[in-house]
């Protein structure tokens, strides 16, 4: 599996897009994480207006066999949650880097340790 070069990554297997002109970035989980989870059946995403803090829990993804916490890759305000994923959580499996994105966040602070695609690929194996 390949991790897109234009994204940055966390060791919790989330990806973060570059910010747009409003300082908003898109967040999802990686294909590695989606495969490890198995079929995702329920996504609890942060709500629009929520303030999330880098490294803290901001939602959960539920698969057939387990439930996993979703961690905020950055600090900021949630400006959009992906309703398509709420309606059809299997999008996280079928298109983790595209239609299966989870939420958009207006970044106020980001940790220094976000990984490049190559560093994440080395990390995730």
């Amino acid at each position: 599996m390949s991790n897109p070069q234009h994204l940055r990554y966390t060791k919790e297997h989330e990806w973060l897009s570059a910010t747009d002109e409003n300082g908003v970035a898109t967040v999802g989980i990686t294909e590695f994480a989606a495969n490890a989870l198995g079929d995702v059946v329920y996504a609890q995403l942060p709500a629009v207006g929520d303030t999330i803090t880098a490294g803290e829990t901001c939602g959960e993804l539920e698969s057939t066999k387990s439930v996993s916490d979703l961690f905020a890759p950055v600090t900021g305000e949630v400006v959009e949650a992906n309703q398509d994923v709420v309606d059809d959580p299997s999008l996280v499996n079928s298109a983790p880097f595209e239609g299966g994105w989870l939420f958009k966040v207006k970044i106020t602070d980001e940790p220094a340790e976000l990984l490049t695609a190559d560093a994440y690929t080395d990390f995730a194996g």
């Binding site: 919790e12 297997h13 989330e14 989980i29 994480a33 495969n35 490890a36 198995g38 079929d39 059946v41 329920y42 609890q44 959960e60 993804l61 539920e62 057939t64 066999k65 387990s66 439930v67 996993s68 916490d69 979703l70 961690f71 499996n93």
Partner: protein, 383 residues
């Protein structure tokens, strides 16, 4: 993202591998440690595998199960003494679901026992309990004319499950499958390989379990894969096996059944045969448990169906939605591919256990999610 909770057991010792291990890896299986074995969890989507078994056919490697053979003139009597069932009454060629209990009536394991011949029985134990069962049978059979043999190394176990499984198996065997009833087993040849062919399974579907020499396992797997290709047979892992058995309302050791549970507590008192000849281990305690269960069942095993989408997991409290009082506990839970909703098996106080009881919820990490109480099983195949 990190796993906050998982129902997969994990052990620290180096896991054992089945005879089909290389094949699973070549097929790209996600492997998991299960009861000390490295087993396929899923090959692709566990939901697709589940649906294949319900509508077509699935092929499983169950070589982690523990086989124990009893031979000799008193093998049947030894099993009557050691287990709760009446195994000496079992006809050769038939199989029986039964349990082994301790002196207090607690369940040590649930078992399938095959009577292969007049003086030969094979006991199949859960992987996690195989050693416990072997030790108990060895000890309990000591006074009888029988030999207890650990056959775990001598068998690989493959299962073909699903409505297409009889046609698939027929194409690779001359054995009389039409004459083979549910819960029966006979020796035969499948794809040129000597096998014990049993019409048993753990999926709620028609299907077969094939006990073969480990050296023959790969040949048999390949032959079944080819024979089933047109019928849509797919390799299946333990993940879908769990959702299949859950829909079929079948108990799983360590979840619905434990040493703290008697067969009567689990609603499976029918497997205890008090009227069999001779005494058996746990009789007195089980008689008391039977009386308790008849008078005032403290908790009953029920099915729960979600109206929402959040999935109950083993250990989550069942609560009264109005008061928030804990009225039970989930023992198994998963999203049901067949029902399209989360389902669970739970022990619930008798007052809330009737199908249709209103106001029952599951505490899912602090949120009380509404659930409907239903009778088990959730799914029953048409016959």
């Amino acid at each position: 993202m990190s796993a906050a909770e998982t129902s997969q057991p994990s052990e620290t010792a180096a896991p054992r591998r089945t005879a089909l291990d290389a094949l699973h890896r070549a097929l790209g299986a996600t492997m998991t440690d299960f009861a000390g074995w490295d087993m396929p969890l899923r090959y692709g989507s566990e939901r697709d595998e589940h649906v294949a078994v319900r509508t077509r056919a699935g092929l499983f490697d169950l070589s982690h199960m523990g086989e124990i053979t009893l031979t000799g003139p008193q093998a049947g009597q030894a099993l009557d003494h050691a287990l709760v069932g009446n195994l000496s009454a079992l006809k050769p060629g038939r199989a029986r679901y039964t349990m082994i209990c301790d002196e207090r009536g607690g369940i040590l394991d649930d078992l399938i026992v095959y009577r292969l011949a007049d003086e030969t029985y094979m006991v199949v134990a859960n992987a996690s309990n195989a050693q416990v069962v072997l030790d108990a049978l060895t000890e309990r059979a000591a006074g009888f004319e029988t030999e207890v043999r650990d056959d775990r190394e001598n068998y690989a176990l493959l299962a073909v499950q699903g409505p297409a499984s009889p046609a698939i198996l027929k194409s690779v065997t001359d054995a009389d499958l039409d004459g083979l009833k549910y819960y029966a087993g006979l020796p035969g040849t499948v794809a040129g390989v000597p096998a014990l062919i049993a019409r048993t399974g753990y999926t709620g579907e028609d299907g077969f379990e094939l006990f073969v020499a480990p050296a023959d396992a790969e040949k048999l797997w390949q032959a079944l894969t080819e024979a089933g290709a047109d019928a849509g047979l797919v390799p299946c892992g333990l993940s879908c096996r769990d959702t299949l058995r859950l829909e079929a309302g079948m108990p799983l050791y360590g979840h619905e059944l434990t040493t703290a549970t008697t067969p009567f507590d689990a609603g499976l008192g029918r497997v205890v045969k008090f009227d069999k000849p001779g005494d058996f281990v746990g009789r007195a305690a089980l008689e008391a448990a039977a009386e308790r269960a008849a008078d005032a069942p403290p908790r009953k095993l029920v099915g729960l169906v979600a109206t929402g989408r959040r999935v109950p997991r083993a250990g989550y409290p069942v609560v009264d939605a109005a008061s928030g009082a804990v009225i039970g506990e989930v023992t198994s839970g998963a999203p049901s591919p067949t029902l399209g909703k989360p389902i669970a098996i739970a022990y619930v106080d008798a007052a809330h256990a009737a199908p249709g009881t209103a106001g029952v919820a599951v505490d899912i990490r602090g949120s009380h999610e509404p659930y409907e109480v239903v009778a088990l099983p959730f799914y029953k195949r048409e016959r």
